[in-house]
């Protein structure tokens, strides 16, 4: 991200776009708008720092972060826009590109970075890793590794909301590749059939791993909802106002009328599918650069807020500096934290083995 975005953005909006006048956005205070901006910047800086940690070495010469790392750079307006609309009984579930949503629901970046480092202070005690962030106290249900496998769970969250008589919803996020998974379609059918308050969000970044939408998916993605009689919409995910205005409509319908919707949000990821992706076989550097220059969600929103007079370049710079410092502090915290021990391996497997005084079953639970 440039510190002087106005110099690098081609199509700087001269005035607030109409989405800014949508009631859900027009009602925002300046502070709330700045908070949306701050969250997007915090996600960007967190991802950049985690990428640096992934490719760097720790003091012992080993890797800081193992396994896969799927970065959210470029998609920030979606998680921030959607999660900013959450009320007490609104729930979120997503796939493995889950860092942005975790930050957007308010998880502590120290615990997130520590999870990446595999430390006991991580949000899942070092047992989940990058793809498995959870915070049930913030209605954030993961963080799931199998493409589309989280979508039936999302419908289950919506079922739970309805069964318990709450006025709420579940937002079930997936990538554009997930729409080709059978479980997603089974979930669509159930949500429509049972009138469940589930808003399915397709974060369409154009590529299912290294396969472009044109090479993987027939037809329009969100339009597949029509076959199930589900309302659908497509919107631009580079403008957080547009994301909020679109999602607010369908979340309101979900909460008030208990009806599902499919919302496809166009976006782009700057990094590879995961950090292991060399990212030079299926798209051009020019394409990535073009998105960065013209559609970067942080720059787009910064330009809007500058035009609105809500933000100044100086205050934007302060927000950015604070986000860099926060990410750095998170990395330091993660680095300094201890790993789980071998004794921790068999904790958190069963509720019963973690609550031995309340155990009702007998016999061996583990076989070593």
């Amino acid at each position: 991200m440039s510190k002087k975005p106005s110099a690098t953005i081609d199509q700087k909006p001269a005035a607030p776009v109409p989405y800014g006048q949508a009631p859900v956005n027009a009602s925002l205070t300046a502070e709330q708008k700045i908070e949306l901006y701050r969250q997007m910047v915090r996600i960007r800086r967190f991802e950049e720092r985690s990428h640096r940690a992934y490719t760097g070495k720790n003091a012992a010469g080993g890797a800081n972060i193992g396994g896969f790392l799927h970065l959210y750079n470029g998609q920030e307006a979606i998680a921030v826009g959607c999660c900013s609309l959450m009320g007490k009984h609104d729930h979120v579930i997503t796939a493995y590109r889950d860092h942005g949503h975790a930050i957007a629901v308010g998880m502590d970046t120290k615990a997130l970075m520590a999870e990446l480092y595999g430390k006991i202070t991580g949000c899942s005690k070092g047992k989940g890793g990058s793809m498995h962030f959870f915070s049930p106290e913030r209605n954030y249900w993961g963080g799931h590794g199998i493409v589309g496998g989280q979508i039936p769970l999302g419908v289950g969250l919506a079922y739970g909301v309805k069964y318990k008589g709450h006025k709420g919803s579940a937002m079930a996020f997936m990538g554009d590749g997930a729409v080709n998974q059978g479980a997603v379609h089974e979930a669509y059918n159930l949500a429509a059939l049972w009138n469940l308050p589930c808003v399915f969000v397709i974060e369409n970044n154009g590529y299912s791993m290294g396969t472009s939408q044109a090479r993987s998916s027939a037809g329009e993605l969100a339009k597949r909802a029509e076959g199930y009689g589900i309302a659908w919409a497509a919107c631009d995910g580079h403008d957080v106002y547009e994301v909020r205005a679109t999602m607010d409509k369908y979340l309101t319908i979900a909460r008030e009328e208990c009806k599902p919707a499919v919302v496809e949000i166009e976006t782009y990821r700057y990094r590879g599918h995961s950090v292991a992706d060399p990212d030079n076989t299926y798209r051009t550097k020019a394409e990535i650069e073009d998105y960065r220059r013209t559609k970067d969600p942080i720059q787009v929103f910064q330009a809007i807020l500058l035009a609105e007079g809500v933000l100044t370049e100086a205050s934007a710079e302060k927000i950015d500096e604070a986000a860099v410092a926060e990410a750095e502090a998170a990395a330091e915290f993660a680095d300094a934290s201890p790993y789980p021990t071998a004794e921790d391996i068999q904790k958190d497997v069963y509720w019963e083995s973690d609550n031995p005084d309340q155990r009702t079953s007998q016999g061996r639970l583990f076989f070593n």
Binding site: H91, I93, G122, C123, S124, K125, G126, K127, G128, H132, F134, S135, P136, W141, G142, G143, H144, G145, I146, G149, Q150, I151, P152, L153, G154, V155, G156, L157, A158, Y159, G160, V161, Y163, K164, A170, G182, A183, H185, E186, A187, N189, L190, L193, W194, Q346, K347, D348, V349, Y350, W351, E352, D354, T360, S361, Q362, G363, R364, L365, F366, F367
Partner: protein, 325 residues
């Protein structure tokens, strides 16, 4: 004590738990209006209404996943698989999501779901509908697996399963649904992970579970009458958690072990049992552990031959006599 069928025992357990806990819901294919593909849930829709007893489309991955998601929010779904054979369609939901979500969240999320349905061969429905996946399920830490053999056990164990805070997989048997057994009218629970010595004996231990328990009891009777052989029968009832102590106590008493399971032999429950018995009671054994399984091929359709493929009284008798020879 009244005699009721295994089917009625499961139904009574469901009805009692639906009555006791408003968070319990029963869902599955044909559980409501159709009255259950095997009539297990007969009458429940009428009694509890469509919010508590819900028919699902034929979408095992979708509705099992939905149940798992709901359980994370504190609903206690009891999901029926028309056949456990269909677990393969929902494998990702059952064994990636239900089994792992507590662990991957560092213990923050529980998944108090029960998935139940029949898992057996012997009904001439061919290989796709005759799977007995208890070994595959139990190979996943985080889950519990029950295979009851009698009406009494089915009721007491299912009620415990529904109250359990971990995911529990409950494997019934269509060939046992009509079998009657004594079941008390007053409420009772059977703890998971407690084996039951179904018959006491001193010459040979048969360790088994599910329908082969019933067959083994008949063989034991025959061996007592015609061969003066005293057989002890240990019904595991639960595969995971496993009551190995009751098995070992019996081994120390009889010193000979025959494991009978309606499973293919490779990596079956009996393979794990055999390992544990030799590891923990090697000096107690007077003979190598013997094992009788389903003959190692996909389930054959041909009705008289399928009976030969499965454990049956003739095969059990032969294996028992061979072990005592």
């Amino acid at each position: 004590m009244p005699q009721i069928t295994y089917r009625e025992a499961v139904r009574h357990a469901l009805a009692e738990e639906l009555t006791r806990d408003p968070n319990v819901v029963v869902m599955g294919e044909e559980v409501g209006q159709f009255q259950g593909a095997y009539k297990v849930t007969q009458g429940l829709l009428e009694k509890f209404g469509p919010l508590r007893v819900a028919d699902t489309p034929i979408s095992e991955a979708g509705f099992i996943g939905m149940g798992i998601g709901a359980s994370m929010l504190g609903v206690r779904p009891v999901m029926e698989l028309m056949f456990w054979s269909f677990y393969s369609v929902a494998f990702d939901q059952i064994l990636n999501n239900a089994a792992n979500v507590r662990y991957m969240s560092g213990g923050q999320i529980n998944c108090p779901i029960v998935i139940r349905g029949p898992a057996n061969g012997g009904t001439n429905v061919g290989a796709t509908h005759s799977h007995t996946p208890e070994n595959i399920l139990a190979a996943h830490p985080g889950v519990k697996v029950i295979v009851p053999s009698t009406a009494y056990d089915a009721k007491g164990l299912l009620k415990s399963a529904i109250r359990d805070n971990d995911p529990v997989f409950f494997l019934e048997n269509t060939l046992l649904y009509g079998e009657k057994g004594e079941v008390p009218e007053e409420e009772y629970l059977i703890p998971l992970g407690q084996a039951d010595v179904k018959r006491e004996g001193k010459d040979l231990t048969i360790v088994t579970y599910g329908r082969p328990v019933i067959q083994s009891l008949a063989v034991a009777e025959l061996l007592a009458k015609e061969h003066d052989i005293s057989v002890e029968i240990v019904d595991l009832r639960t595969i995971r958690p496993l009551d190995i102590d009751t098995v070992l106590a019996s081994v120390r008493k009889t010193h000979r072990v025959l494991i009978v399971e309606e499973q293919k032999p490779f990596c079956g429950v009996g393979a794990q049992l055999t390992y544990m018995i030799q590891a923990e009671a090697f000096d107690e054994l007077d003979a190598p552990i013997s094992r009788l399984c389903t003959i190692d091929a996909p389930a054959i359709y041909s009705p008289p031959v399928e009976a030969e493929q499965l454990p049956n009284p003739q095969r059990i008798l032969k294996a028992a006599l061979a072990l005592l020879d």
